[in-house]
């Protein structure tokens, strides 16, 4: 789930407005964008890069396997784009599209699992490895927000993840990897998966886990955190949110006690994680733990 500067990246849906803006940023920053996919514009050039009709066609044109695909197509097309990428043998998929029907998500996650591919998202802002590259919608190029270092950051939300990285960098820390896992109720990479990945990452010495009310992912991550030696600090959004309402992220809904702030806090604290009431307190807490 960490992306590296030497990895090749295909952008499915590269010709869209958002995709164009962010593909340019990725290229400038050092991401090895090899080109994109748009069935209607196959054979043309976009951003001085080739456009293929499918990921499979793109793969045929390469000497080596494509490492990663960044998927920014409208919701109805996501399922077929993912299946196309899996068909092309791509093993790391970052799905940025929001509002993908959940039945489609479950379908392509099952297919990805069988193909041995990891999926990040949908509805993620992407992943950043400061100093190397990024895939997604994150301001990796903003030096106030991202600087190389040894703190791994996990977040469901792009905007909140950006704020946390900013707070860290302004406090003198640097970021080893940012993993945006996405705000949807069913996603490929869970908080626990991301935590495990950062635990094994040699560059990462400590972790900021940014959670959110709703679902059971933080509780599940707490089980893994229990056996870890790297210090973890956490902020979870939604303590002040009223129960039973969807707060923008489809995943952020509390029904009864399930997914509540109190339950998540308790689980994480029992696993030795320091849980803070605002994100700005994360750097000081981290300093104490290191």
């Amino acid at each position: 789930m960490i992306v590296h500067g030497n990895e090749s990246v295909l952008v499915q849906g590269i010709t869209g407005t958002q995709a164009t803006f962010w593909s340019e940023r990725m290229k400038e920053y050092g991401t090895q964008v090899i080109g994109g996919v748009n069935p209607k514009k196959a054979g043309t050039q976009h951003l001085d890069l080739p456009v293929w009709g499918s990921a499979k066609d793109a793969a045929k044109d390469q000497d080596a396997a494509i490492d990663c695909s960044c998927i920014i197509v409208p919701p109805p097309g996501v399922k077929s784009s993912v299946l196309d990428a899996l068909d092309a043998g791509i093993k790391k998929l970052v799905i940025l599209t929001e509002h993908v029907p959940v039945h489609d998500v479950m379908y392509f996650l099952a297919a990805a699992r069988e193909a041995g591919a990891s999926v990040i998202g949908p509805n993620t802002a992407g992943i950043v490895t400061p100093g190397e590259c990024f895939v997604g919608f994150m301001p990796a190029f903003n030096e106030r927000v991202f600087k190389q270092g040894n703190i791994g950051v996990i977040s469901r939300s792009g905007s909140l993840g950006t704020l946390v990285c900013l707070d860290m960098v302004q406090a003198g820390f640097g970021i080893s990897a940012f993993i945006g896992i996405g705000g949807d109720p069913v996603i490929g990479t869970t908080t626990r998966d991301a935590l495990q990945c950062l635990d094994k990452d040699a560059k990462t010495q400590a972790i900021a886990l940014i959670g959110e009310i709703g679902g059971g992912m933080e509780e599940e991550a707490a089980e893994y955190a229990n056996g870890m030696t790297k210090p973890i600090v956490s902020f979870m959004a939604g303590a002040a949110s009223p129960p039973g309402k969807k707060m923008g992220h489809a995943g952020a809904i509390v029904m009864g006690d399930k997914g509540s702030y109190a339950g998540k806090k308790k689980a994480l604290e029992a696993a030795g994680v320091t849980v803070l009431p605002t994100p700005s307190m994360l750097p000081d807490a981290l300093r104490e733990r290191l």
Partner: protein, 373 residues
């Protein structure tokens, strides 16, 4: 999107699951007429929420007069804030045994999950609490579906029910879930009758909000959210606005950051007046957002907190500033801006209003909370 029972049950029927005979009544007279037709019946309040029985919204009636009296009473109720506008009048069935059955989108297994309990007649939270061992949890591969053999192996031995009919019903429940892009398709209770039939006495259906577009026809029969006037305006314009009790207005981007902004307001002793995010595709709606937030008369100060990832702070700030003279905010406004496009956003703010954002979100929050006191 939630559906009331009367709108959900036809989906089961289409999939081939038996439901009691009956129909919807919007008045006591209509209820009595229905009872005349079907005999001893159940009168059930139609509201998109659970626990109707406990709220007095479900009653038995043995004749048309009783049906009229009960319908009259129930149509006067308000359940969990929803006024009862209609009742479902259905034939009573001779119950031998009650079960719980549902298929839902499960985030843990990342696929559909069949839930079944031979201990029915209570809600799922209660079943999970009191009879956790009796709850069957069968994950389903959405690519291959749910076979009768899988269900057969998953179910415990159950007395007093035609097992084949029960298994078929569960398969059809899965079909109904698939056909309708359900987040949840639940039958509680599913009953075995004394004459050996399997019937769905209730149905709860939630449509996946992300599938509304491709289920447009179906979505027309969904229950609309209960919205305030400002919330309705937000929905019409295309962003998510939720009115809250406090007096610090919030204009922010991204669900996570917006919830965090609310948390920080509450942490520093204030109370947020609303949830509103203009992230995602809504970040060009600065003007309308400003109008809606300030449309709430409780708002005493406004906190504008932008942190740009995909949403560009320059675009959002530009949208808000463009609307500034028109909207003419009468409350103090506190800014925090960082992330994508922040230099341009800061420059715009300086040029238009001669002010600068607070250096950190926390400082902006503290100032906004103080000003609202």
């Amino acid at each position: 999107m939630n559906f009331e029972e009367h709108a959900a049950k036809p989906l089961l029927k289409t999939a081939g699951i038996a439901v009691p005979e009956g129909g919807l009544a919007k008045s006591a007279d209509e209820a009595a007429a229905m009872a005349e037709k079907i005999g001893p019946c159940v009168v059930k309040a139609q509201v998109p929420t659970g626990k109707r029985g406990k709220a007095g919204g479900i009653a038995l009636a043995s004749n048309p007069d009783e049906a009229r009296t009960e319908a009259e009473r129930i149509l006067d109720l308000e359940i969990a804030g929803f006024p009862v506008n209609s009742v479902l009048v259905e034939q009573q069935v001779p119950i031998a045994k009650e079960f719980y059955a549902a298929v839902l989108n499960d985030s843990d297994t990342k696929g559909p999950l069949l839930l079944f309990s031979a201990e029915g007649g209570m809600d799922i939270e209660e079943i999970a609490d009191k009879h956790p061992d009796a709850l069957v949890r069968q994950p389903i591969d959405i690519r291959t579906g749910l076979s009768s053999d899988t269900i057969e192996a998953a179910l415990p031995p159950i007395d007093g029910v035609d097992r084949k009919a029960l298994i078929e019903t569960l398969q059809k429940l899965y079909e109904a879930y698939m056909q309708n892009d359900a987040e949840l398709m639940e039958i509680n209770p599913l009953v075995a009758t004394t004459d050996n039939r399997v019937i769905a006495l209730d149905c709860k259906f939630a449509l996946d909000d992300s599938a509304i577009r491709r289920q447009a026809e179906l979505a027309k029969s969904g229950a609309p959210d209960k919205l305030t006037e400002l919330e309705q305006r937000g929905q019409d314009i295309g962003f998510k606005y939720i009115e809250l009790e406090g007096n610090v207005g919030v204009l922010s981007n991204g669900a996570g950051l917006t919830m965090t902004t609310m948390d920080a307001i509450s942490h520093y002793g204030g109370e947020p007046a609303n949830f509103l995010e203009i992230g995602g595709n809504a970040f060009v709606l600065g003007k309308q957002a400003l109008e809606v937030v300030l449309g709430n008369p409780r708002v005493k100060s406004l906190l504008i907190n932008f942190c740009g990832a995909i949403a560009r702070t320059d675009v959002m700030t530009g949208g808000v500033l463009e609307a500034w003279d028109d909207v003419d905010p009468q409350v103090p406004v506190f800014w925090s801006i960082s992330g994508t496009g922040e230099d341009e956003a800061r420059a715009m703010l300086k040029e238009k209003l001669g002010t600068a954002p607070y250096p950190t979100m926390d400082e902006a929050v503290k100032a906004a909370v103080e000003a609202a006191k």
